[in-house]
């Protein structure tokens, strides 16, 4: 049975050539139109930079791949202008249940307090993810030159850029670009061309991934079954996707032959017995079967001269804990504004080294969590297996061990040790609120509220004031912006830097008071926020000169005409 989604097919094209080379030298070439490549292209376009996006295939992807999009990713997608499509298509969820044999041993809820605008997690198929991003790319067609059926065959790095060799059904050509973003996935051709290899751990445990079509009113939640009666000795995970598609992942026994395990005659009875066990009686049909083996691998650096790696091309994170696509979207978000700042001449190339620094640190954190999840979901030795059996059996009566079953779900990563945060000289005396390097904590704004991004209407939530700019959040209980801070916006504009100063916390309602408390800003404070929503610096009291100094460490090619500078 096919997926309930028919991808549009796109034909190849050839640009005008001179001696077999694209006549246009591009500022940025992005290899791979997957979720990460799309997000980089859209992010650059939003920041005013054109790119060429190269895709070997003739359509968005097929099959069962990434299915869970985190709240942090949704915030990023919102800034990219793609959020409505995700919310219209995806299924939001907030928690799940785990079972050991026939007993429920864990009910978990992801952080989801009343301050949140977006769900902690949203399920949709990767072809949906790519289609929604493709729709956004088409709106930005004047800045994104998307070339289908164009396969990278070799990459020659040069001092001031790269030359890419491309193959299409209409013929081959070369393309030159100042920068290349490698978003070409786990089997990255760019990585291979540069002779680079991922390093880390590959796990023995194997999972069969099955998508089935089945109508069901069952709620969207993550179900995990350990040693279930339907499939003794195995672990089974169940996720709901839109359009009555269900994703079922089950672990293979060590002695099972991989090739035989993915044959329908071996897969279908296991799915049937699982569905019977959970009480699903409707007719169902298989759509997709594949084999998965967990890897926890990364490159040591994501910048190699003029080549920048992102997503699976840079790191492979185990699927348990849903940090694959989500960490790639975070890579794209970190990279886009920095590459744009370098191309606008506002920052030196060193800013791109901080892309590598911050995202390699993030990957290590993600790999650590991914490894933990994998050790539980696919125990790598007898010891992990014995201990898991102990945890699951004891969990029925002993609540104190249940946290060991809970998969550490993806959460926003803080760039705590980032050289950008360290250089920015924040004041230390905050008792609460996001520290430098962290993402903003979401909160309702109350009234009065500044306008939401791209509208005249007041923003309901804090993250809606972020956009393609640095943002100074100034908490002023009296609603008045001090004169020297009021001058920053014009000073930044004069330097060509996108900037927004936002006055917060002036209201007398509960939301305004709660916001001030959340940010440790009862008596006024300022947060300087990067275009990717991470805090660069914060001050109890700030003068324009503090802002200038903090920003000078990031945008080191501009003489900022603010403060004393």
């Amino acid at each position: 049975m096919p997926y309930p989604f028919v991808p549009e097919r796109f034909s190849a094209g050839l640009p005008p050539l001179r001696d077999g080379v694209d006549r246009v030298r591009h500022r940025v070439a992005i290899v791979g139109a997957g979720p990460v490549g799309y997000c980089v292209a859209i992010g650059l376009a939003v920041h005013g930079i054109s790119s060429v996006l190269i895709e070997a295939d003739d359509s968005v992807c097929a099959g069962s791949r990434a299915i869970c999009i985190s709240r942090r990713s949704l915030e990023i997608l919102d800034r990219l202008g793609a959020l409505p499509g995700f919310l219209a298509t995806g299924l939001p969820w907030t928690g799940g249940r785990s079972f050991y044999r026939d007993r429920e041993v864990l009910r978990f809820a992801m952080p989801n307090d009343a301050n949140q605008r977006l769900p902690p997690m949203l399920n949709l198929a990767q072809y949906h993810i790519e289609q929604i991003l493709l729709d956004r790319v088409r709106e930005l067609a004047d800045r994104i030159d998307l070339r289908w059926q164009t396969r990278l065959t070799a990459l020659e790095p040069r001092a001031d850029g790269v030359r890419a060799r491309l193959a299409t059904p209409l013929g081959d050509y070369a393309l030159e670009a100042d920068w290349v973003v490698a978003a070409d996935g786990g089997r990255s051709t760019v990585r291979e061309s540069l002779g680079l290899a991922l390093a880390g751990t590959s796990y023995e445990g194997r999972y069969v991934i099955v998508d089935v079509a089945m109508p069901s009113d069952r709620p969207t939640e993550r179900l995990a079954f350990f040693d279930p009666p339907c499939n003794p000795g195995s672990t089974v995970l169940v996720h709901k996707q839109p359009q009555d598609v269900w994703r079922i992942d089950y672990q293979l026994r060590r002695d099972e032959d991989a090739e035989a395990a993915v044959r329908p005659e071996n897969v279908l009875p296991r799915v049937e017995s699982l569905l019977a066990m959970i009480g699903e009686t409707a007719d169902w049909a298989p759509i997709w079967i594949s084999l998965y083996r967990a890897n926890a691998l990364t490159l040591e650096r994501y910048r190699h001269g003029r080549v920048l790696f992102a997503g699976d091309a840079a790191h492979l994170v185990p699927i348990f804990g849903v940090r694959g696509a989500n960490s790639g979207i975070d890579d794209a978000d970190n990279l886009a504004w920095k590459l744009a700042a370098v191309l606008h001449g506002h920052a030196s190339e060193r800013l791109l080294d901080t892309y590598s620094e911050e995202r390699v640190a993030a990957a290590k954190e993600n790999l650590g969590y991914g490894a933990k999840s994998t050790e539980f979901m696919a125990p790598p030795s007898f010891a992990f297996e014995w201990m898991r059996t102990a945890v699951l059996g004891l969990a029925v009566r002993h609540e104190s061990v249940r946290s060991l079953i809970n998969p550490p779900q993806t959460s926003p990563i803080a760039y705590t040790d980032s050289s950008l945060s360290r250089a920015a000289e924040s004041s230390p005396e905050f008792e609460t609120g996001p520290a430098p390097g962290s993402v903003l904590v979401e909160a309702p704004l109350g009234t009065p509220a500044p306008a939401a991004r791209g509208t005249e209407a007041p923003a309901a939530y804090l993250t809606q004031v972020l956009g393609d700019h640095f943002t100074l959040l100034h908490f002023a209980p009296d609603g008045v912006l001090p004169a020297d801070l009021a001058g920053i916006e014009a000073g930044m504009r004069a330097c060509g830097i996108r900037w927004r100063t936002v006055v917060l916390g002036a209201g007398t309602d509960e939301a305004a008071a709660a916001l001030r408390a959340l940010y440790g800003a009862k008596h006024g404070a300022s947060y300087l926020v990067r275009p990717d929503g991470h805090v660069l610096a914060r001050w109890r009291r700030c003068a324009a000169d503090d802002v200038r100094r903090a920003l000078a460490g990031v945008l080191d090619r501009v003489a900022l005409r603010i403060g004393d500078g």
Binding site: P232, P379, A383, T389
Partner: protein
């Protein structure tokens, strides 16, 4: 103990057992249990814990299948 500390100790015990191998791991666990007994040093509580560990012990099919 918070969840992160519990998790780290769980992993440390798993690694210790893995490094001595399957044949020696029960001895390692027995020694660890003995050290924990003298450390906890509350006889009534320890009798409860021994009983809880023996309760609902899964049959052998609970392991070795993966």
């Amino acid at each position: 103990m918070n969840a992160d500390e519990l998790d780290a100790l769980y992993t440390a015990l798993c690694r210790a057992m893995t490094s001595v191998g399957e044949a020696q791991a029960p001895i390692l666990l027995a020694r660890f249990a003995l050290l924990a007994i003298v450390e906890i040093a509350d006889a009534d509580r320890l009798r409860q814990l021994i009983a809880a560990a023996a309760e609902d012990l899964p049959d052998a099919s609970g392991r070795g299948h993966t």
